[in-house]
Symmetry: C2
Subunit: 197 residues, 2 copies
């Protein structure tokens, strides 16, 4: 769970650089993240610690540290499979560009979707997947269809080894492939459970 919290701090710091906030104290940042500064310092310590005790963090410098840790110093291009509403939602997400993430394109098998643009991101036919991947040096694919197994296999067949599954349908992780299940439905269930306690 530390990793997810670290990723959360990184998102918040990226948003702060977007808002041109120059400095932030550990307690201010902790408050924004709905945690306390002791937890925050413990989380940071896990990755070697940053800043000087008693001094606020330089937001830009701290963001750069996180960029190194997560390996997003340069733009990371991703491809989406399926021209669906969740694909559109990723394109609309205002935080991803602040994290150096670029959605290079969508591939879709329905002829009627080809050539459409979602906020400037184009939908390509499956046969263009190879050229899209090599042109943008893509290593990550996001599953946005209702057939995650099929879409994952398509991506694996084209050399992609990091899969972001946004379908709320679990798929088994093949050897040598990294999957992140972003199960929105399961997230809502945890909220309902906590609400009922």
């Amino acid at each position: 769970m530390t990793l997810k919290r670290l990723a959360g701090y990184f998102c918040r710091l990226s948003q702060l650089t977007g808002e041109k906030v120059p400095e932030i104290s550990s307690s201010q940042l902790a408050k924004m993240m709905d945690t306390n500064s002791s937890q925050l310092r413990q989380d940071f310590h896990h990755f070697g610690g940053f800043g000087k005790p008693g001094h606020p963090y330089d937001v830009n410098l701290l963001k750069e540290e996180f960029q190194k840790i997560f390996g997003v110093e340069d733009t990371v291009n991703i491809v989406l499979v399926g021209a669906t509403a969740i694909a559109h939602a990723l394109i609309e997400n205002a935080t991803l560009p602040l994290l150096n993430i670029k959605i290079a394109g969508i591939v879709d098998e329905s002829p009627e979707n080809i050539g459409k643009k979602y906020d400037g991101v184009e939908v390509f036919p499956i046969k263009k997947l190879d050229s899209l991947i090599s042109k943008h040096n893509i290593k990550i694919g996001a599953l946005c269809t209702t057939e995650p197994e099929k879409s994952m296999q398509l991506l694996i067949d084209h050399g992609i080894k990091a899969i972001w599954n946004l379908t709320s349908i679990y798929i088994r992780q093949p050897d040598g492939v990294v999957i992140r299940h972003e199960n929105l439905a399961a997230g809502l269930m945890t909220l309902i459970y906590n609400m009922n306690q």
Copy 2:
């Protein structure tokens, strides 16, 4: 984390009832969830345990147990704030109806969005929020705008105390309110981190 995994099993079981699968063994279910049957039994034990050792689970009965645990035996209605792509993605999500979740409506402040329908779900003006909440006995609101603080305050002012934040922008949890941050951008960062190890 056990709760999130439990929610994941519940999603999978709901999908299996949708596919009319009558029975499943703990090892089959564990495989689908990319875990092992020892972990699954440990997770189930946490909530009192289900089924008989050595027998497969009755999928419908097990789903009913989960419905009780999560408190979704009857339909749970939710309202979305913001007629955005992520709102549309929640409406398109095929797992939510299997979990007894119904999206009762969207509220939006832009006059040009009012009256639009996303797969049958209507967009209402803010002034209809009260009647929407009382008509459908809504207790949960989802933040789908780029201004989560403002949308959360709107919901709290109308008596909603469970907030599902889908904006990737953190907000501080007020007293007496339960929040689930569904931070897609942070999720992608953990995938990239793991890919780089």
